[in-house]
């Protein structure tokens, strides 16, 4: 999995990743974002899901953790999620609290 982190402005971090967020990559994905947020005093995170093909329960766990972390600091948005991913979010009730745009 390839993960690109980009600062949009002083407080906002955009994450562009490609591939699967599965048992192999989920922890790496979460840790990288979490560290970047802490190191740069980020308040808002935008997760670009355009290239994400797949997310498993391991991936959902990481998204939940990130969501909880960012609720305290600011906001977290998910954009460009595929049908497949949206379906997963819907099925698992994640779409109810995630800020999906």
């Amino acid at each position: 999995m390839e993960i690109k982190l980009r600062k949009q402005d002083e407080d906002t971090l955009e994450v562009v990743a490609s591939g699967k967020i599965d048992i192999d990559s989920a922890v790496e994905y979460g840790t990288k974002i979490s560290d970047a947020v802490e190191d740069n005093e980020i308040k808002n995170v935008i997760l670009d899901f355009a290239q994400i093909t797949y997310i498993s329960s391991m991936g959902l766990r990481v998204i939940l953790e990130l969501h909880q972390k960012m609720s305290n600091l600011g906001t977290m948005k998910i954009k460009n999620a595929s049908e497949q991913i949206l379906n997963i979010f819907k099925m698992t009730g994640f779409s109810k609290f995630l800020n999906i745009v």
Binding site: K20, D22, I23, D24, T53, Y54, S56, S57, M58, L60, R61, L64, H67, Q68, S71, Q84, I88, M91, T92, G93, K96, F97
Partner: protein
């Protein structure tokens, strides 16, 4: 105890001193004996001198009396006048100055009256004629001395002595009188007397001290009369004039007695008889007499002991300084050297023997340093060689993380720094893998060098020559060509055709491999052996091809395993290898190999490894629509690749594929996290198409667990109250057409899409 130089030298010193003491003691014994008799004689001589002086006086008195008697006799015969007698008497006493006085006493019966001439010495040493004795009041013939002397005199021995008596009339002193006779023809007509004052002699005797507590007795034995005694035990008894009976220690035979016992003391009696018959007895306490000798001997012994101690101390110090200390220095240095410290300067200059030894030590350490340096160089070279050798063998495991259809684990542990064993494996193409284990004859550096050559030749040829028999013929010829030292290689090699499930095996004089079929045990496989490689050129090699299906394993090894020895020289044996393999057969190939190695090490515990230990385990997983491998996070990728390949093969709708992948991931994760939470185990997955349905089946042999029994998670909860547990299975349920759990000695989960 007497094994050290120190104790031995001390023993010698002790013996020397002991001998010296014995000699000195013997000398002292004789010296003491001689000295004792000398001391006895010396005391005797001293007393003798004293007595001789007294005797001189006695002789003088006697001569005085005789001379006076002779002159008196002459005058008597020429009927001399009184004036003449007075003159003679005065002159005689003027000449003999030691007497107190004396005179001429005629017998009254001859002269018809008292007729005497007496003279004495006054305080001014003048001779005075005393006429008081002619009176009847004194009446000299009645005096004891007169009677005594008159009765004792004979003409032949014309001298006699009176008993000592106290003279009250004249000098008021204690005295004794010597007398001589005046004869007319043979008739005694008168006597002459010389008075000898005893006071000065008594005083001398009282002062006579041979030793501080010696005492003396001056007595007239013949007349049984004590003149003076200085016996301190009788101090308060006036003895003078008493008989010898009053002297407690006196015996008649005193002259023959060596010692007398008196008041718990031993005394030596010295008895000296004077010329007038009196005797002087001096008693000397034995201990005092020999006191000086004892003092001398004691001093001698004391100095002997002190000298011995000084000699011992000096010897000990010398010994310490010259022998023990240098030895300790050398021991200390030897200890340091043995601990690897070679930069030591040894400073011993004396004694020469040790200086020589120290310089030898120095030379030795220098040589050791040189040799060590040389050895370090060689060792560094060997370490480098070992690293080159081990890096020449593929040593990253798993070697093909992107291949799910097979896996290989191998290890080589050389007995010395570099070994003659080797293993190798490499893909000949996408569908063929070659793997081998070989053992070069000999050990150490030559074997290692030969091994590198052999390994290179084998790889070079097999990579380009497809035909196995021909490839091995070429390999053998090539090795023979360069083999000047007649080394050879035994080898077992396999080429796995991953597409057709065939394994081609070549055995060149090597140990037989073990094969494990899926669900079976490891068994030795019979293989015809070819010639060892490098022994003889132009040989043909036979290849045996066997079916090798998914789940099968093959184990190659060298005799370093089966010929490992325990402390009783028992071989590890092929049977034990087989047993240990089967005991570990359900583990991953890496763990199987590591457990074999551990078992060999435990078997030959404490014994140096005598041969290289090499092994290789190849496991085939295949590319079928059924796949079985260890359930682990590491293997997830392999399963995933297998799934991808098989979905491709089955031409599954791409829209469905993420759902199948998701189902696989969630269930696979569940299996290795829960079914195999404590032990490692395998999971078998199959995928098949049944009409329009895709059936994904999971089978594991872990803890029985039905994931479907778990209640669905509440997906309506707020994010801060949610957990993701159970979400995976819930999603699988949602995404699949049907899901079913069965238990048939294994957890079986079937998912239908």
């Amino acid at each position: 105890m007497f094994n050290t130089i120190k104790s031995k030298v001390l023993l010698i010193v002790f013996l020397m001193l002991f001998t010296l003491s014995v000699i000195l003691s013997a000398f002292t014994f004789f010296y003491l004996k001689n000295t004792k008799s000398l001391v006895i004689q010396g005391a005797s001589f001293f007393i003798g001198q004293f007595v001789q002086n007294v005797n001189k006086d006695i002789l003088e008195m006697e001569n005085n009396a005789r001379d006076l008697a002779l002159l008196g006799e002459l005058q008597y015969n020429s009927s001399g006048k009184r004036e003449v007698f007075e003159y003679i008497t005065t002159r005689i006493f003027e000449n003999y100055s030691n007497s107190l006085g004396g005179g001429i006493w005629f017998k009254p019966e001859i002269m018809g009256r008292l007729y005497c001439v007496y003279a004495y010495r006054n305080k001014d040493k003048q001779i005075i004629i005393d006429k008081r004795f002619e009176t009847f009041e004194y009446n000299y013939p009645n005096q004891n001395w007169y009677k005594e002397i008159t009765s004792k005199l004979t003409k032949e021995n014309n001298i006699a002595w009176s008993l000592p008596y106290f003279e009250y009339e004249g000098s008021n002193t204690f005295m004794v009188t010597a007398g001589s006779g005046i004869y007319d023809n043979n008739e005694l007509v008168g006597i002459t007397t010389v008075d000898w004052e005893l006071d000065s002699i008594i005083k001398s005797i009282q002062n006579l001290r041979i030793t501080p507590n010696s005492f003396a007795l001056f007595a007239d034995e013949k007349n049984d009369y004590v003149i003076v005694s200085t016996d301190p035990y009788m101090e308060n008894i006036e003895l003078t004039g008493k008989t010898l009976k009053h002297v407690p220690w006196y015996k008649e035979n005193l002259r023959k007695i060596t010692y007398i016992d008196y008041h718990n003391k031993k005394y030596l009696p010295y008895v000296k008889t004077l010329d007038n018959g009196m005797c002087l007895i001096v008693c000397v306490p034995k201990n005092e007499l020999f006191y000086f000798i004892f003092m001398q001997v004691s001093a001698l012994f004391a100095s002997l002991i002190i000298i011995s101690l000084i000699i011992s101390t000096l010897l000990y110090m010398g010994l310490n300084r010259n022998i023990i200390k240098p030895i300790n220095v050398l021991v200390d240095i030897a200890n340091k050297i043995s601990k690897g410290n070679l930069d030591l300067a040894i400073k011993i200059k004396k004694p020469e023997e040790f200086a020589h030894l120290a310089s030898t030590f120095d030379k030795m350490t220098k040589e050791i340093t040189a040799i060590t340096k040389q050895r370090e160089k060689i060792e560094a070279g060997l370490t480098l060689a070992k690293s080159i050798q081990s890096s020449s063998l593929p040593n990253v495991f798993p070697p093909y993380p992107d291949r799910y259809d097979f896996d290989i684990y191998a290890s080589m542990e050389p007995a010395f720094n570099v070994g003659g064993d080797f293993y190798d494996f490499y893909l000949l193409n996408e569908d063929k893998i070659m793997f081998l284990v070989a053992d070069v004859s000999g050990k150490g550096v030559p074997a290692a060098l030969f091994m590198m050559t052999a390994k290179t030749i084998v790889k070079d040829i097999t990579q380009y020559v497809d035909d196995m028999p021909y490839a091995f013929k070429s390999i053998n010829d090539e090795i023979c060509t360069n083999n000047k030292h007649n080394l050879f290689v035994t080898m077992i090699a396999g080429v796995m055709d991953l597409k057709n499930n065939k394994l081609a095996l070549v055995n060149c004089g090597h140990n037989l491999p073990l094969i494990k079929r899926k669900n079976g045990d490891f068994e030795y496989i019979e293989l015809e052996s070819n010639m060892v490689l490098g022994a003889m050129p132009d040989m043909n090699f036979e290849v045996k091809e066997i079916d090798f299906n998914f789940g099968d394993e093959i184990f190659f090894y060298t005799d370093g395993i089966t010929e490992a020895m325990d402390k009783n020289s028992n071989l590890y044996s092929e049977q034990r290898l087989k047993d240990v393999l089967n005991k570990n057969k359900n583990l991953s190939i890496e763990n199987i190999c590591k457990n074999i190695k551990a078992d060999v090490n435990a078997y030959s515990c404490g014994i140096e490894q005598s041969d290289d230990i090499t092994m290789l385990l190849f496991k085939y997983y295949g590319r079928e629509n059924i796949y079985r491998n260890t359930a682990s996070k590491e293997n997830y990728k392999r399963f995933n690749m297998w799934l991808y390949d098989n979905m491709e093969k089955l031409n599954i709708n791409t829209a469905l594929r993420p759902n199948i992948e998701l189902a696989f991931e969630e269930i696979y994760t569940n299996i290795f996290s829960y079914a195999y939470s404590s032990v490692q185990g395998e999971v078998e997955i199959s995928i098949e198409k049944n009409n329009d349905d895709i059936i994904l089946k999971f089978k594991d042999w872990g803890t029985p667990y039905n994931p479907l029994e778990k209640p669905d998670p509440d997906i309506g909860l707020a994010p801060d109250k949610r957990s993701v547990g159970g979400l995976g299975v819930y999603m699988v349920k949602q995404l699949s057409k049907d899901i079913e759990y069965n238990w048939d000695s294994a957890n079986i989960l079937t998912v239908k899409f």
